[in-house]
């Protein structure tokens, strides 16, 4: 799947953050870009000048280690200046290696430890129902993350409460920290798992902005059922030497040469 100008631009913001901190979870951020882009460009209702706007839609990055992707889109949407990306992981920065609510405008929940976002999102979806708001809740989980049992406790609960204002998006890049999910903890049949927990399900190419737009425009997939959207993605998408490479799940000591190589790779990215 080729990447258009906007997708390349947002990835360059990720690299900018990575360069600022000299470290970060590159692969997990790059696989998220189109999911975040379509959510923030086309789906979510929000006001960057008033992040606490009650009627907004909520988006929780439950795989908090993908935060450089979230920071890129939030900076792009003017929640904070682009220059803030240069402070990533520095002592007094608002942008840490995992996102913190309260510190970073636009971040709904502090995440980083895996398997927390769905339950929090269910609480928010129930709150919207109680207050008769039409706010929707989107929770992005990683494929490694859904090894956690708490994810499936939450899935049972979302099904029980018939939360059709709740959507889980699985960033299914098929590589976790140690290697392929197929080897570490096989998730298949993944769609069937969500369906059997009471979700309406669909799958989509997670780097195909147009297809994502179409899928997310059709929510809820089924009335009175929570939605699970399996997004087939590529870990490290856009940086060929990092693609599908577990070594780039997280890297420290990233120097100027590597950063320059990433920018060149993005400029030349066609495949």
């Amino acid at each position: 799947m080729p990447l258009d100008e906007r997708s390349i631009y947002l990835r360059k913001l990720v690299v900018r953050g990575l360069a600022g901190g000299g470290r970060g979870h590159l692969g997990p951020a790059m696989s998220l870009i189109e999911i975040l882009r379509v959510l923030y460009d086309d789906v979510l209702r929000f006001k960057p000048q008033n992040p606490a706007w009650k009627e907004r839609d909520r988006c929780i990055l439950s795989k908090g280690h993908g935060c450089l992707g979230l920071y890129a889109i939030l900076a792009d949407k003017n929640y904070f200046p682009l220059e803030t990306l240069d402070t990533f992981c520095k002592r007094d920065s608002i942008l840490g290696g995992h996102p913190e609510a309260g510190k970073i405008p636009g971040v709904e929940a502090s995440t980083g430890s895996l398997g927390h976002g769905m339950s929090i999102g269910i609480g928010m979806a129930l709150a919207a129902r109680l207050e008769k708001r039409d706010s929707r809740v989107f929770v992005i989980v990683g494929d490694g993350e859904i090894n956690e049992g708490s994810v499936w406790e939450a899935a049972l609960s979302a099904g029980k409460h018939c939360l059709d204002n709740f959507t889980v998006l699985v960033d299914y890049n098929k590589i976790q920290a140690s290697g392929p999910t197929k080897e570490i903890q096989d998730l298949e049949p993944l769609l069937d798992k969500w369906r059997s927990f009471g979700f309406a399900t669909t799958e989509v190419g997670g780097h195909d902005a147009s297809a994502l737009r179409g899928t997310l425009a059709s929510l809820p997939l089924v009335a009175r059922k929570p939605n699970a959207v399996i997004c087939h993605t590529t870990k490290g998408k856009g940086i060929p030497f990092a693609e599908n490479n577990p070594d780039w799940h997280h890297k420290a000591k990233i120097g100027p040469n590597e950063v320059a190589n990433m920018v060149i790779a993005l400029d030349n990215y066609h495949a």
């Binding site: 980083g112 769905m118 049972l156």
Partner: protein, 311 residues
């Protein structure tokens, strides 16, 4: 105490639309009235502590005040990370109500004994930790819980516990209460929490009969600890005895000693009474386990006398 506590949730729900009740498979009949009157704010969820606590956090992020109830050891241990991150890191007004604090569930064995709940909860930043002495004091706590800005862990006792608290003593979260004042200048200072205040008052009576004068300072709030009250009473005390239905590791007695060492360069000898650093080997009743572990009134009195004899 549990009934008073849960009935209070219902009363608070009547008064304030932000109040929500979440139970984790608590058995039939719990808060039937609330379930009927406010079905949309009554949640009886599955056996899924991690999810329930995260869900409460999400509701609190949008302005609700969830009261979450299940067995104390599960609410503190099973969902510990959710309590730490989802609730405490976000500093949300979620109330965790733990059934059967301490050794209430003696016959059910070590899987059901909450003897490390104070330690687990008080180590968490932003958390308030409460263990009241009786049902009347629970009523006062619940009344004040509504507007407390921080998360609260509320330990429940067995139920039917002797009522020793008094309306006249007042009640404020974070303020210790003097339950017995010494009549002499150099008394023993008992510092106590939960239902151990009851046993300690009885011990103090027994000691008084032997001419040993004491003060009993009751901490219904273990965190934030009322250090000012502690220090005010320490001055002049000949010995300090802490009493808790909890492991001696990391609990209330530990908090007291931390406060003493952090604030004073010298203080009277301290004896910490509580449970050993071991899983319980016994069943029986709560009182059986008190007896095994030296927490009955006569045993508290004897331990105090032994301490005084060493001085």
């Amino acid at each position: 105490m549990r009934k008073v506590c849960l009935d209070a949730v219902y009363m608070l729900a009547r008064r304030d639309p932000r109040v929500i009740f979440i139970g984790s498979d608590l058995g039939p009949g719990v808060l039937e009235g609330m379930k009927k009157e406010f079905p949309e704010r009554y949640f009886m969820e599955g056996i899924s502590e991690a999810n329930v606590i995260g869900m409460a956090a999400g509701l609190a992020m949008d302005g609700f005040i969830p009261y979450v109830n299940t067995i104390a050891t599960f609410i503190t241990r099973r969902g510990f990370e959710q309590v730490a991150l989802d609730i405490c890191l976000h500093r949300l007004p979620v109330r965790l109500i733990g059934n059967g604090g301490g050794v209430v569930y003696a016959p059910l064995g070590p899987t059901h004994l909450a003897v490390d709940d104070f330690a687990l909860m008080r180590v968490l930043p932003n958390m308030t930790v409460m263990a009241v002495s009786d049902a009347d004091e629970m009523r006062r706590l619940m009344e004040r819980s509504l507007d407390w800005p921080d998360p609260i862990y509320i330990r429940l006792a067995k139920g039917g516990d002797e009522v020793i608290s008094k309306e006249d003593n007042g009640f404020a979260i974070g303020k210790a209460i003097t339950m017995r004042s010494a009549s002499t200048a150099n008394p023993v200072l008992f510092v106590t929490t939960g239902v151990m205040t009851t046993n300690t008052l009885a011990a103090a009576d027994a000691l008084a009969a032997k001419g040993i004068d004491s003060t009993v300072l009751h901490f219904h709030t273990i965190k934030p600890l009322d250090i000012a009250a502690l220090l005010a009473h320490v001055a002049g005390a000949k010995a300090i005895v802490t009493v808790e239905e909890h492991s001696r590791v990391g609990g209330f007695g530990s908090a007291i000693v931390e406060a003493l060492t952090d604030n004073l360069t010298a203080f009277p000898p301290v004896k910490r009474l509580g449970l050993p650093d071991a899983f319980s080997k016994h069943y029986g009743t709560q009182n059986d386990l008190f007896e095994v572990n030296g927490l009955m009134p006569n045993q508290i009195a004897e331990a105090t006398e032994r301490l005084l004899n060493q001085l």
